[in-house]
Symmetry: D2
Subunit: 382 residues, 4 copies
C-alpha cells in the first residue's frame, strides 16, 4: 500500500532515505535452519555499493550490514531478520538550489504532490540508495535458492545503442562480473565503457537494459492470473527506480511471431514427463513455471541527475531558472542495477516456492485410480 513491502510469505519491509540515519530491511518468513551470516549479505551489498569504479557515484558508503535478529548460532530461527545499513556519507546540507524547485524528471515534484511536503535531502525515499535494502534481502533469498540448486544471474545487455551478443548461461555466470559494466560479452563491455565515458564527459547520462536468466526452477510454481509469476515478477521489476519496460520470453518481439512459430511443442524428458521441446515461452505458461529457464529483460532509463543545464521552476520566486544537477551521480544505471535485478528475481522465486508447487499434494492420494484424466507429473523437486 505504502510501497515499502514486497512478498506474500517471504516478506520484505524496508525503510530509509538517502539523507537519514540508516537504511533498514526486515525479512520475515525465512525458513528456520538456514546458515546465514553478515558476510553472506555483505557480498552482494559490495556489488551494488557506490564508488566501485569511474562509472559509479563517488559517494563513499561502506554499506556494512548489521543483522539485529532472527539468527542463533549462525542459523536462522524462523523469526524475522532485521538488518540495518548505516548512512555514513549523507551530506547534511540541503540540495540547493532544489529546495524550492523540482529537479527535472526526479520524484521531487510528485513526492510533494503526494505527501504535501518537500523532501529536500537529495532523492530521499526515491533515491536508488533504497535498493540497498532489496539487495540485503535478496542475499537471504539467494542462499535459500542455492541450497535447492536454483541458480540465477543477470548482466547488462545494452547501453545506449551498444548491444551485447547473446551468451549462454555459463558465460553469463562466469563473465558478467569481470568488467565494470557487468556485461558478459567482453567486447560489448569495452564499447559500452567507451560510450558511457563519452556521455559522462559531456555532463550527460545514458539508458540501458539488463537481461536475467534462471536454472533449476521447479515446475508448478506460480498461480493463475493476478498472481502469475510474470505479474508478480513484473511488479517487482517495475518497482526498481528508472525501470520503463519489463518483458519475458520473446517479450515485445512476440507481436511479430505467428502462433505456429512461437508455440513450443512437447516431448518427453528422461523421467517420462512432458517437457517443452523449446523455450520461446520463457519458462512460464499460464502464469506457472514449466521447469524451463525463466528469462527476460528490464529497461532502465538514463539517470535524471545530470550536470548539463536544464530548465526548471522555482515556486518561491515564481520564476523559471537554469539548473545543473551537480553531485555524486552515476552516468548509467544498469551496472549497479544487476545485483538489484538479481535480488528482485530471487525474492520473487523464494516467495513462490514457499507458496508451494502443489497446494497440498498429499490430498490427492485417495483420488480414485480409475480417474484416468488425472495427470500428476513427477514431484517438482525430483
Amino acid at each position: 500500500m505504502n510501497g515499502n513491502r514486497f512478498g506474500r510469505l517471504f516478506q520484505v519491509t524496508t525503510y530509509g532515505e538517502s539523507h537519514g540515519e540508516a537504511m533498514g530491511v526486515t525479512v520475515s518468513g525465512c525458513p528456520a535452519g538456514l546458515e546465514l551470516s553478515e558476510e553472506d549479505v555483505q557480498r552482494d551489498l559490495d556489488r551494488r555499493k557506490p564508488g566501485q569504479s569511474m562509472i559509479t557515484t563517488s559517494r563513499n558508503e561502506p554499506d556494512a550490514v548489521t543483522i539485529n535478529s532472527g539468527i542463533q548460532d549462525g542459523y536462522t530461527t524462523g523469526t524475522p531478520i532485521g538488518m540495518i545499513i548505516q548512512n555514513k556519507d549523507a551530506r547534511s546540507g540541503k540540495y540547493e538550489p532544489f529546495v524550492t524547485a523540482p529537479r527535472p524528471s526526479h520524484g521531487d515534484f510528485t513526492y510533494s504532490a503526494k505527501f504535501g511536503t518537500r523532501n529536500w535531502g537529495g532523492g530521499g525515499r526515491s533515491s536508488a540508495r533504497e535498493t540497498v535494502n532489496w539487495v540485503a534481502a535478496g542475499a537471504v533469498a539467494k542462499k535459500i535458492l542455492a541450497e535447492r540448486g536454483i541458480e540465477l544471474k543477470a548482466h547488462v545487455n545494452q547501453i545506449g545503442d551498444v548491444r551485447a551478443d547473446e551468451v549462454n548461461f555459463e558465460e553469463l555466470v562466469e563473465r558478467s562480473e569481470e568488467n565494470e559494466v557487468r556485461c558478459a560479452d567482453p567486447d560489448a563491455a569495452d564499447e559500452m565503457l567507451a560510450a558511457i565515458d563519452e556521455y559522462q564527459r559531456e555532463g550527460d547520462s545514458i539508458g540501458g537494459s539488463i537481461y536475467f536468466e534462471t536454472r533449476g526452477v521447479p515446475r508448478g510454481l506460480g498461480a493463475p492470473r493476478f498472481d502469475s509469476v510474470e505479474a508478480r515478477l513484473g511488479q517487482a521489476m517495475l518497482a526498481i527506480p528508472a525501470t520503463t519496460a519489463f518483458e519475458f520470453g520473446l517479450g515485445k518481439e512476440a507481436r511479430e511471431w505467428a502462433g505456429s512459430d512461437r508455440n513450443d511443442e512437447w516431448k518427453f524428458d528422461s523421467n517420462g514427463d512432458p517437457k517443452p521441446a523449446s523455450n520461446r515461452h520463457g519458462g512460464l505458461q499460464g502464469g506457472i513455471t514449466t521447469g524451463e529457464p525463466i528469462y527476460g529483460e528490464v529497461t532502465l532509463h538514463a539517470p535524471t541527475s545530470i550536470p548539463k543545464t536544464q530548465t526548471t521552476v522555482d515556486w518561491e520566486t515564481g520564476e523559471e531558472k537554469e539548473v545543473q544537477v551537480i553531485g555524486r551521480h552515476d552516468p548509467v544505471l544498469p551496472p549497479r542495477g544487476v545485483p538489484v535485478v538479481e535480488a528482485v528475481l530471487a525474492l520473487t522465486l523464494v516467495d513462490f516456492m514457499l507458496l508451494g508447487g502443489y497446494i497440498n499434494p498429499d490430498r490427492l492420494d485417495d483420488r480414485p485410480g480409475e480417474y484416468d484424466t488425472k495427470y500428476h507429473p513427477t514431484a517438482p523437486d525430483e
Copy 2:
C-alpha cells in the same frame, strides 16, 4: 495469493472456468452513491464478447450480466457488488485428444504441475474467457473515473509487422471502435485485417500489441517503490493472458536515450504550479502521477490454439502424437483485448484514487508557516 484477486481498496475477486456454470466477480470498496445499472456493465461486456466478427471465436455467449448485490434504487450502497455471467455455450464434451496430452504452449501442463489434476474442459481457469469478469469490474471503475473527468482509451497499435501510425487522444477515442481490429488508424486496420485473414486461412495465428492512454488523472497518485503506479499497473497488465511485455512512457526505447534528451523540464501551469514541459516520462515520476497523460503498451503473443499440425506427448500411451487444436478460437488477441486493457487500467487507477493523493492532507494545516521548504501544490482535483 491464488490469482483471483486484484486491488487494495477497490477489490476485485473472480471465479469461473470456460467449462463451468458461470463466471462471477465481486467488486468491493466501490463508493456508495454511484448510479449503476446492468446496462452500464453490459456495454463493455459486449465489446469483449465472442462472435463479434470473423476474427473472433464463434463461441456463442450472450455474456449477459446479473448484479446480485450492492445496489439499491439504482445507486451503489457501498457494500460488495456481486455479478455473475452465465456460461451458455460451454461444450460439455471433453477436449479429445487433449485429455491425456498437453496442448502446445497452453497452461494445460503447468496447471497439472501445480494442482496435480487435469482440467480437461478447455482452457478452464486459464481461458481468456475469465477476463469477462475483469471487464465487468472495470465497467464499474470506468463510471467512477468518468464522474471525475478521467478518460482512458486503448487501441490495437500493431498486428504482426503491421504498425499503426501514432494518433492523438481524440483520434484514439473516436476511431478505435470503428473497425473490427479496434485500431484507430483506419489504413493500418485494413492491413491488419488482411494479415489476420491470411494467418487464419493458413490455420495459424499472429501476435500484436495494444496501446493505452489517459486524460485527466490527478497528480499525486501512487506510492514509492513496490506500490508505484507502474508496478501495480504492470502486475495487472502482465496478468492478462498471453501478455509478454509491458512498458510505459518511452518504454524499451528509453535505453537508447541520453538523460538530457529524455528528461522533461519544468514550466508553470496556469495555476502557477510546476508542470512538465513534455511527457517522455509517461505521466509517472518516482512511481507517482505528474498529472500528465499516462501512456504505454502491452504485447500479446499469438493465440496458442491453432489448427496447424503440432507435436505433443500423450502420457497415457507414452507416445508422441501429432495434434490440431480445432475449435472456436480467435486468430489474434488484441482486438478483444482492448476492453480488457482498458478495464485493467481503470481498476488500477480507481484503486489508487481511493488510496488518495495525499495521505490525510488536512493534517498539514497546522504546519508552521515559516517552514519555507514545504511545497504544497494545488489540490489534485482542482
Copy 3:
C-alpha cells in the same frame, strides 16, 4: 479492508444483502482433488437456515446453494469455488417506519455514517443473513479437516442465566443437534427453551453464548503475535454479528488463577514427544497449537429487533417517535449461530494448515548433527 474477506491462503470473499437478489461467496485456495458436491454444502446451510423451529425467524428461505465453478467430475480443481444462494423471500417493501429513523442498536445509523446513504431494505449487509456465505465456505473447510481426522463442534452453553453443564467431546458431538437450542445438555436445553419462550411472548429477546472445541489439530500451527491462532480466530469470531466477547482456554477466568495453578506441566506422549499434562492453555501456547484440543467461548448479545416499544428519532420530521420492530426475527441468536461458529473455526484452521506447521521442514536436513540444542518433534501429522 472492506469487511468481506477472510483468510490468507484459504480465502473467502462474500457479497449479499438481505434485500438483494442473491448471496454469494468465493472460496479460493481450496486444494485440488477434494470430493465436493452441493449436498456437502447444503447440509450445513440447512442447519443455519431460518424457519427451522418456533425459536427461529419464519422467513422462508430454502437457502439452496449452486456451485458455479471450481469443480470437475465431483472433485475440486484447485481454482476458485464460486457459490450463490438466491434470496427468495426478501420482502420488497421498505421497512417503514425505519426509512428515516434508525432502529435501536442496529447498524442502521452507523452504516449511514460510514457510507452516507440509507440502506432501508432491512438489515442489508449487516443482516445476519450474510453468514449464510460463511457457512457455505465453512462446509468446504470442514471436508478438508475431516479428511485429515480433525473434528470440531460447537453448542449453546448459556442462554440468559441458564447455563449448561460441562460436557465431554463425545457428548458435544452426539447431543448438540438433538434439540432446537443446539445445547448438548438436554436438561439445560429444556430450561433454555422455556426461557426463550417467555422472552418471546413478552416481545423481547435474550442473549447467550456458544462453546466450541476441536480434536486432532496438529501441533505447530499458527505464528507468533499478530498471526497467532487466537488473534486470527478471535478476529473471525468477533466478526460474527452480535458478538461481544471471545475467549479461549480459561478465558476471562484466568485473571484469578495463580501461575502455579494455571501452568500446564510437561510429560512424554507415546512417541516420546513432550505433551502437556493438562490443557488449561486451551490448545495454544505462544500463539501456536500444542496438539491439545482448542476450546473457547463466544458471547452473542440479544437480538436487537424486538416488538417491544422503544424510542428513536426521525431525521425527516426532527421528532422522537415510539417504534416496534415487528418482523420475522429470532428471539435468540446462539441456536442458529452454532453452525456459524463452527464455520469460522473450520475456516481459520484450514487457513493455518495451508500455511503449514513447519515453514519448509526439509530445509533442516543438512543441519549439523552436533547442533545438540535443536529439537525437532515428530512431524505434526503423525
Copy 4:
C-alpha cells in the same frame, strides 16, 4: 502471515528477540507533516520498560529509541519511520536447564514444533520484550490521535480477585499512572500490590485484566464484518502475549441481558443528528463507530515463569525433571501491559481513520435531492 505485521494503511512491521542485538519496528503510512521526535516515543517506552518497581523484572534495559528514517526537520515526511531499540542487558548464557526441556506453558515447545529448531535464548521472539516495538509504534499513532482530539486510556481493573471500582474517564486519565499497578482506584491498587507481593514471595505469579476507554472517536469508522472495529481490535488485543479473553461493551455479561434492556435508544444531539441515549453497545454498532466511547477489557493470564517447582521433560535424557524458572520475571503482567493495550488501541484507531469514515464522501454531491431516504449525518470531524 508471519506474525510481525499489523495494520492496513497504518502498517507496523516488527523484529527482534529477547536475546538478539536489537528490537526494531517500521511504521509505514504515517501522514506527512506530523511533528515527531524520539522524546515523543521515549515517553511511552519508559512506561513499559522493565525495572520500574518491585513488581517488574529487574532486567536493566534503558529502552532508548533511535529513529532512523521518515523524519525531516522534526516532521514526518510520509515515508516509512524506522526505529530501533538496542538490547543492552540480554544475558548471553543459555537458559540452562531449558535448552533441552520446554518450560511449562511457555512457547518453547510450540516454537520448536513450528520452526523445527530450539530458541534457547530465553523467550526469544515469544518474549513480552517484543511489545517494546508496539509501544514505539503506538506512540506515533497516539500523536496523530491527539492532534484530532481523540483520547484513550487504559488501567488495571483486576488482579487476582481484587477488583477496582468503576471510574469515570477523567479519573482513569488522572489516577491510573499514580501507582505502580497502574490502577485508577487507589484503594484497589493498594490491595493489588499486597496481593502481588504475596504471590511473589511464594515464588508464584497471578493474572489480571486491563480496561480501556476512548473519547472523541468520530462515528462512521470501521467496516462490516471481517473488518469491523471489534474484529480488528480483537485480533490485535489477542496478539498481546498472555491474553486469553477480549470483550467490548457489556462483553461476556451481555448473554444475560434481555434485548429491551441492552438496546440503546436514539435521541438527537445538539447538531440534530441521531445519538444513542446510552452506551451499552460500547461505541460500536454493526462493526462501525457510533461516536460514543469505545470501551472493553482484556484478560492476561499469570506469568508462566515462576520460581516454584514444576515438572517438565528433557528430550535429551528422555527423563522427566523438576525445574524452577529463576530469572528476572514479572510476577504480574497488567501493570506493564497498560501501555501495550493503549498502543494496540491507538494503532487500530489510526488505521481505521486513514481508511476513512466515508469512502469518498464527495461522491455524494450529485445524488438527486429527491432521493429522500438518504441520510447523511454531519461529517465525522465536526
